[in-house]
Symmetry: C2
Subunit: 435 residues, 2 copies
């Protein structure tokens, strides 16, 4: 296969054959094709896209670039969930034990936070001792014994994605819908699942800023899954303000645990968690419809079953299960500071992107991949969009550990809220469902 | 300078500043910026172009990536000519001694043939002993003593172009007007010239297949030269059939020498050579207008002055000057074969691209950069467009040295001619002039 010819064809709007795509990805992973040719091809794909046949081939070639999991020993339906990333999006943490408690196995491979968005692995690691590095044997064994497992990407799974992502990151080719879609789907399909529920975020705090792009991404991912074939559903959900009231690692874990303990939960966090859980149960065939699924999910919380299941998997993954009973065992900030409302009025904006960046400045997230995160620090949102505040009332409580970082975070956080004389028009949280 | 940010900006249709372009090219030449980032940037440039400010900066940064010639010791005006490449285009060979004999110094750096197009260096090397590898000191010294010099690119001149061209070649980013223009102009401007005449070829045997693209290329190159500032004129000329009657190395040299000896010259070769020469003399200020220039150029041939000047520079560059008197001293093919007209009629097409490829198969050109050329072999066109032939009359004479290569060449050559019942509508050879 002549790589230059393939680049030229893609540059000129033509399509690559399935064989060509497989040879190309294999040659890249084997080190036969240099980065510079792939970089040029990725930029041509940025401009000209990939058609559905190329996308299926590209995803499949990535998927088969390394090992895949073998979940054939698991009798239960295996369903995973993926979110395209947002601020305060801790949904996976309560969702996985709730769904697993209903008899759907969840082999969840998650990522770390980068830029303004957080990552499930970082949040899990706020539990003292929790291990997210699991080899494939342990991963499957945990899935067998607990019906759920939450770990990081193993080095042997989808090496093509790791190589391509690293290259995209430094060549301006990250925001390409076919490349994003094939990256996500190759990783999720490597889990050997029966179905996938996608939470495609759109808005100020999401990678997709407008609904058309988000819909295109959702349709592309559902299309790839179906071509595999794997059942899939996507929800387009609004990510203009942070989800729930906590942003950070230990504090998002605490908010998740409070939800599993049946304590009062912010309505937006609750709505998305249940909607995704309902879709997973229906897709897994353990509930006939959304209402039946909802009842079963609620029961896992009210009976304490989901919390108990989570405690068991925490212990199995090396973490301290007592955090489920005693939230003070989670890392705590050194001190807290408050941001207060400069005027009275209605909150018409609580900008998720700014809050996310403030979190990074504080140390809760990463500006660069190689940065460490500080699990202790975070932001508690005390006034969300649509709420009324009076001048001097706290908008947020900031848990901090370093004065310079606090100051840098506050500078950005201050700009996150907009207070107006009129309440905002309520916006739907779940915009549409794509199957 | 953050290269990823520059790639993203160019990808999104923004412009790079002059400083950014200079830093980018310098970092690439220094090995600080990896090929894969430049490859992605080149593909973004392929799609989004470079504006006139970026083009001036890009060319200047390339030009200053290495040494430049210093022609300040030359009293005469220094004018060069560049052709974008065609089949049978040996114009530089008669042109340089004719123009130099009129008092315009020509510091010509040429290239080698690749694909269907020939290169002046290969043609010059058909003269036994002729050296095209000249270091900058010798290049200037020859220009001082002979008013002309014809050599290859020195390693120290415009290293950025060598690096970028090698990368473009394997990343599908060759046919980009801003990248082609800046590549050509950086090399030509490194010769420290006062003016440049460009022959931009358009048609079947040219890189540019349509007049709009060719005009855009010509305007872009003239614009870069003027911004430098260096005077420039471009002619758009038709390259549908081979120029003149000879295609190959020794036989193109022979055709050039016959022209310098005042023997009968194919009208198309004569027209383009004189038109370019006239422009060079006017640009150099040694003739007040085209008519005056034409007379002076004709005189260099009729008096034998141009031939004598060429013989002197051949000798100075290590070649055997007796070839100017005895064409049989040029390499000769082992045997010749004929291609005859399958029917009677008018030649409505003699496809330059096919003839060029037939030349490559024969061994006169290169399919890949690393191939050697056989100076002996070539094709003599015996029936050009607009000429009438009878069945069985020879269309071409092929000088060959290897039977398999002859056979491969003949298979393509046979398809080059179209013979029709009606004569073709004559097309202008020189389409327009751009200044």
């Amino acid at each position: 296969v002549n790589i230059t010819e393939l680049i030229v064809r893609k540059r000129d709007g033509g399509a690559l054959t399935t064989d060509e795509v497989h040879q190309l990805i294999a040659a890249y992973v084997d080190g036969q094709t240099p980065d510079y040719q792939i970089a040029a091809l990725l930029m041509a794909i940025y401009f000209n896209g990939l058609d559905s046949g190329e996308l299926a081939a590209w995803t499949s070639a990535m998927l088969h670039s390394g090992d895949t999991l073998d979940t054939s020993s698991i009798g239960a339906p295996k369903i995973d969930k993926h979110s395209t990333g947002g601020v305060g999006d801790k949904v996976s943490i309560p969702l996985v034990p709730m769904v697993a408690s209903c008899g759907v196995a969840v082999p969840m491979i998650s990522g770390r936070g980068l830029g303004h968005t957080g990552g499930t692995l970082d949040k899990l690691e706020s539990i003292p001792g929790f291990r997210v590095r699991l080899d494939p044997e342990e991963f499957i064994s945990l899935l067998e014994s607990h019906g759920m497992v939450m770990g990081g990407q193993s080095d042997t799974l989808v090496p093509a994605d790791r190589m391509l992502y690293a290259l995209r990151d430094v060549t301006g080719t990250v925001p390409s819908i076919p490349l994003i879609s094939s990256s996500i789907l190759s990783k999720k399909l490597s889990e050997d699942i029966d179905g996938l529920v996608l939470d495609v975020k759109v808005g100020r705090g999401a990678f997709m800023q407008n609904i058309d792009d988000a819909r295109h991404l959702a349709e592309t991912m559902v299309g790839i899954a179906k071509a595999h074939p794997t059942a899939a559903v996507a929800l387009l959900t609004r990510m203009d303000e942070p989800l729930g009231r906590e942003v950070g690692n230990a504090n998002e874990m605490a908010e998740s645990l409070r939800m599993l303990r049946g304590e009062e939960t912010p309505p937006d966090l609750e709505e998305i968690t249940y909607r995704l859980g309902e879709a997973m149960l229906v897709l897994g065939g353990v509930a006939s419809d959304r209402n039946a699924a909802r009842s079963r999910l609620e029961e896992t919380v009210s009976t304490g079953k989901a919390l108990e299941a989570f405690a068991a998997v925490i212990e199995a993954q090396g973490g301290d299960p007592r955090v489920t009973e005693d939230l003070s065992l989670l890392p705590q900030p050194l001190q807290t500071a408050e941001l207060v409302a400069p005027t009275s009025g209605w909150i018409t904006r609580c900008d998720a992107h700014r809050v996310g960046i403030a979190g990074v400045r504080l140390g809760a997230g990463r500006a660069r991949k190689e940065d460490d995160v500080d699990h202790r620090v975070g932001i508690t949102i005390l006034a969300k969009e649509g709420e009324e505040v009076t001048q001097g009332q706290p908008l947020a409580k900031v848990g901090w550990a370093d004065e310079d970082r606090l100051s840098a975070a506050m500078d950005i956080l201050r700009e996150a809220w907009v207070i107006s004389d009129e309440p905002p028009t309520p916006q739907p949280l779940i915009i549409e469902e794509i199957r």
